[in-house]
Amino acid sequence: MGKRTKAAIQAAILAALMGLLAWHTISWHIDGTHKELFDAIGNSTWDTAKGVFYNLGLMAATGVLLGMFSEKITDLFGYEVKKIDHFGDQEETPAVADLTARREAALAEQAAERAEEQVVEPVR
């Protein structure tokens, strides 16, 4: 399956879930359930928790679904989102050069040790 096809299927699933969430929110607004939840806050601990965490849950679910949907849409359009290179040439180059020098020094040291062993072995 191609990357775009996969993105299209995922976007369609997320859009369907968003539709369900929107349908739920609108129907609860129309039938007065939102108002009931709102009015019940403060009546008891359970009613307060229900009202308050419903708000938080709805926002979190909407945020996650819309965020993921947006990602899939950009994938679908072929817009490539790359990680930003925050440090660029500033530190990477010296660090890599430094590591290369260290690696070369370690390899030279190993080679010298091996050569020394080869020289010592016949004497044993």
Partner: protein
């Protein structure tokens, strides 16, 4: 038009709510602030009582920040470890700030003093950030003149290095930001910025983003993404608190978040086209509008809310702020796209946009 049974008599066009979410989504996604300084007054103008405006806006910010953070994490702009420590300490600090101001007000502290202090704080943040950003821009231009590559970000403040040299156990390594810092330094900065935002009632982003850049030494783009992640936690907590106080109209927040979803994509993706100083300059513009708003509020309190001209001024600042910030962000992104097509940015914008 939509009516809200929680606030009888208030009717708002749905598209206007979506548009407000859209504008604040762009601004928040780009400079890493919640955007309460724009949406809260706008909701009040549309007829929301102040407590409902704050609670509903905070609830919408919680959802919007998730959307922007997801995109910023794709861009590598989110330092999760730092964001979590900052968020927890900022929430604790904000709670302390709110309780402290309640305690002071119960003992006769004048609202004017708090407003004046808030105005001074925002003006100072704006001025210092502007001065430093111009110095950083100058240094980047000098690098270019010397034939060297312009880095993605540059700061001239030495404060971060001093704070990083505090090696109190436990030390934490932040690979995304490439910063090694004491846990206590991060906690104190997070707690202090949270305390200030709770005390003054201004958004944490205004204070936290510059604090992450200048006190912790983080690149501006990572500060933006990390702050948005922190906002998820802090505004989530505020959503619970406001919900308990009957301040949230959840449907209005739900409608706004659809506009914010589109705006946040533009804002967050826009950061991929700019350099650190551009973000900081936009932050200065936002802080300036925040300071202007605080100044008008202070004048309103000083004149016992008797001058109509102040009411008009607050509306001009709010809508002017929205329009200016969105235009500047879109302008910068447009300039970057144009520069990419031409292969080079204009010389005055080389330190602001990424042309390659």
């Amino acid at each position: 038009m939509i009516a809200f049974p929680e606030i009888p008599g208030v009717e708002i066009p749905i598209l206007l709510l979506v548009f407000m979410g859209f504008t604040v989504g762009i601004v928040g996604g780009f400079i890493g602030v919640g955007g309460g300084f724009l949406v809260t007054p706008a909701l009040i103008v549309l007829g929301f009582p102040a407590n409902f405006a704050v609670g509903t806006d905070t609830t919408h910010i919680a959802g919007k920040s998730i959307i922007a953070t997801l995109r910023h994490s794709q861009l590598g702009n989110v330092d999760l470890k730092l964001g979590l420590i900052m968020a927890i300490s900022a929430v604790a600090g904000a709670e302390g700030g709110v309780r402290f101001i309640d305690w002071l007000e119960a003992r006769g502290l004048d609202e004017k003093v708090v407003l004046a202090a808030s105005l001074i704080l925002m003006t100072a943040i704006g001025f210092l950030t502007f001065r430093e950003t111009m110095a950083a821009r100058k240094r980047m231009n000098e690098l270019k003149a010397a034939g060297k590559a312009i880095p993605r970000d540059e700061t001239t403040s030495g404060l971060a290095k001093k704070l990083q040299s505090i090696t109190m156990w436990p030390m934490i390594w932040l690979p995304t930001s490439r910063v090694s810092v004491s846990f206590w330094t991060v906690s104190v900065i997070g707690g202090f910025t949270g305390f200030l935002s709770g005390f003054f009632g201004v958004g944490g982003g205004f204070i936290r983003v510059p604090a992450m850049i200048y006190l912790l030494g983080m690149p501006s783009l990572i500060a933006v993404g990390t702050d948005l992640f922190s906002i998820i936690v802090s505004s989530g907590y505020a959503t619970v608190r406001h919900g308990m106080s009957h301040n949230v109209v959840v449907l209005a927040a739900f409608i706004m978040i659809f506009g914010a979803a589109i705006g946040a994509q533009i804002g967050a993706l826009g950061t991929a086209y700019v350099r650190g100083p551009a973000i900081r300059l936009l932050l200065v513009v936002a802080v300036t509008f925040g300071a202007a708003s605080a100044a008008v509020k202070l004048a309103d309190v000083l004149t016992n809310e008797s001058l109509v001209v102040l009411d008009i001024a607050s509306k001009i600042i709010m809508f002017g702020g929205m329009a200016t910030l969105v235009s500047l962000i879109m302008g910068l992104v447009g300039l970057a796209l144009l520069s990419r097509r031409r292969g080079a940015a204009p010389s005055w914008a080389e330190a602001l946009v990424v042309a390659s």
